[in-house]
Symmetry: C2
Subunit: 336 residues, 2 copies
């Protein structure tokens, strides 16, 4: 009998379609997209040597040995938002509009074209995470920016055509309604129970101990009870903290190691699937809030969002979260 | 300067990325998926002659000439929900679960494998719409069904691998939170203004007259002011009616003609793109409500949902809704 499960944090209901469920390894498939072979590609605008093909950089982690760089951040050449101009709101009858001002940056994770987050060394991963935080902090200081979305699209099914490993950051002049709705919901839970809804969920996951994929000193990676899709994975900080800005240096290093471990499991066990990663952290003003909690979300794109999801906002997951978790828990972090 | 637009009905904000906008015709592309050539395919479980490869049918529109059928409805062989069994809710700490009971049907739109909705005759389209309504009505009478989602996935990017033209219907034992949230929002709007939020939006669209794609006696097809994606299209009944069940026979015939016209425009102007269609109609108990309004939504899958959308719930649309509408308004309904 299939089961419909509730995600208490997002309020989403998910049909866990046990009757049509596949075994975890069936989601791995020979990747149609061939992983790039060349370490540097002359025509790639994000490769070293082509720095003049991007807008002037806003940040870099230099490489002392030869004056090159290890991580580089540039405005998106095809920015969705305009970095200049004033924030103006307009209302005309039912239509509300805001000028599209904001920040849209590309974080080039490594000079090497044929790497991906999962293949970085621990030290390299730490640099990427530190850059995430540096940019998140810098961009939220722009008075026009109300919220920052930090994400990575890996592979064509995840929405990118650019091979060179990169993440993106979008600072919007509004707080997305979905974020605000979840904050409201978490606030109500806190008022009614005295608990952070994220902390309470994580405590439950640790007791249940059947959906944990990996755990470190400061973080837990797990498949949510009502995972939207196979291998949909959350990484929560164990210590209550509302925003990404509040993570300590030690926690950042710990997160880098755990995230690398999880990404390597996905990379090797599912054959380098396309995936989206996103940092879910509320607006800067949320620092210190007792009822909200930042986290990372990873969605391997092994299935398609179709009409049912579009027409209802619900999801059908063809994998049992406990099985997905067990599979990834035992997955290797190195090539077999 | 890009613009961030608000959809007053869904509360979604959409970045209209004018700087990276493409011209409407740039979204048309030679279809990688080749349209099927054969009228009947021996191995297709939905083709005539293979009726024993599907579960026993729940409905058919017979063809009197030869005892065959024109439209056929069968339970989904890989049903996401179980048609038998009781509705049981369970709560264990923070975890809430409902037994996965419900109805999952496949509506086979035509016996001909190589057709698609856009290529049906007017009379055939009317039969499909009448079947939608017959099944919607029948399934909502099941006491375990709280809500029906009726949708079509056309093409692989839209989530189907089955070529034979078909739609699907899922009757779930819960009302999706997204549907409930929108109803709540519409109720508040009604209480504050005395208007149905859908009727008010439609009235605005008719006055603006720049996003209308096609109009008939009883329906209007338009690109929403804050369209989520290029060619995201809504079809609203002009007369206020809360649910699909309330449409009159004349309105059903009128809808069939208009929907066919719109689908043909999309088919010929955008080169048979993959798309999702969904019927957005509230639960049966909403019949007669003054504040809610049913409609159809069509989303051609010419772009990808990526990390920004997943991480924020917001959308970036790389087409100007007014331009998309103008393009489709002038698009042919027959091959050029």
């Amino acid at each position: 009998m299939p089961e419909i499960r509730h995600n208490i944090i997002t309020r989403e209901w998910v049909i866990i379609a046990t009757e049509r469920a596949k075994r975890p390894e069936q989601f791995a498939k020979p990747n149609v997209r061939r992983a790039p072979v060349e370490r540097f590609v002359a025509t790639c605008p994000l490769c070293p040597g082509n720095e003049d093909k991007t807008p002037p950089e806003t940040y870099r982690v230099p490489r002392s040995s030869d004056g090159g760089w290890q991580v580089r951040v540039v405005p998106n050449k095809f920015s969705a938002l305009d970095a200049k101009g004033d924030l103006v709101r307009k209302a005309e009858g039912l239509k509300r509009t805001i000028t599209g001002v904001g920040i849209h940056e590309v974080i080039i994770e490594t000079p090497e074209h044929n790497k991906t987050l999962a293949l970085l060394t621990e030290a390299e991963m730490e640099l990427v995470m530190a850059t995430y935080r540096q940019r998140y902090n810098a961009v939220t200081l722009d008075s026009r920016v109300a919220h920052v979305t930090l994400f990575k699209n890996h592979g064509e099914r995840a929405g990118t055509s650019l091979e060179h490993p990169h993440s993106q950051l979008v600072g919007t002049p509004i707080i997305p309604p979905q974020v605000r709705d979840r904050m409201e919901h978490a606030l109500r839970f806190y008022d009614e129970t005295g608990d952070c809804i994220f902390c309470a969920t994580l405590a439950d996951e640790l007791v249940d101990d059947v959906r944990i994929v990996a755990q470190s000193n400061d973080f837990v990676a797990f498949i949510p009870y009502a995972a939207l899709t196979p291998f949909h994975l959350w990484v929560f900080p164990l210590r209550h903290s509302a925003t990404f800005l509040e993570a300590t240096e030690a926690e950042m290093a710990d997160l880098s190691r755990l995230l690398r471990k999880v990404l390597r499991k996905i990379y090797f066990a599912l054959d380098n699937p396309d995936f989206n990663l996103s940092l879910r952290t509320p607006p800067r003003e949320a620092c210190g809030l007792k009822y909200f909690h930042w986290y990372l979300s990873i969605i391997p794109r092994v299935t398609r969002v179709a009409g049912f999801e579009i027409g209802s906002g619900m999801f059908i997951n063809t994998a049992l979260p406990e099985q997905s978790a067990e599979f990834l828990r035992h997955a290797p972090t190195d090539p077999s």
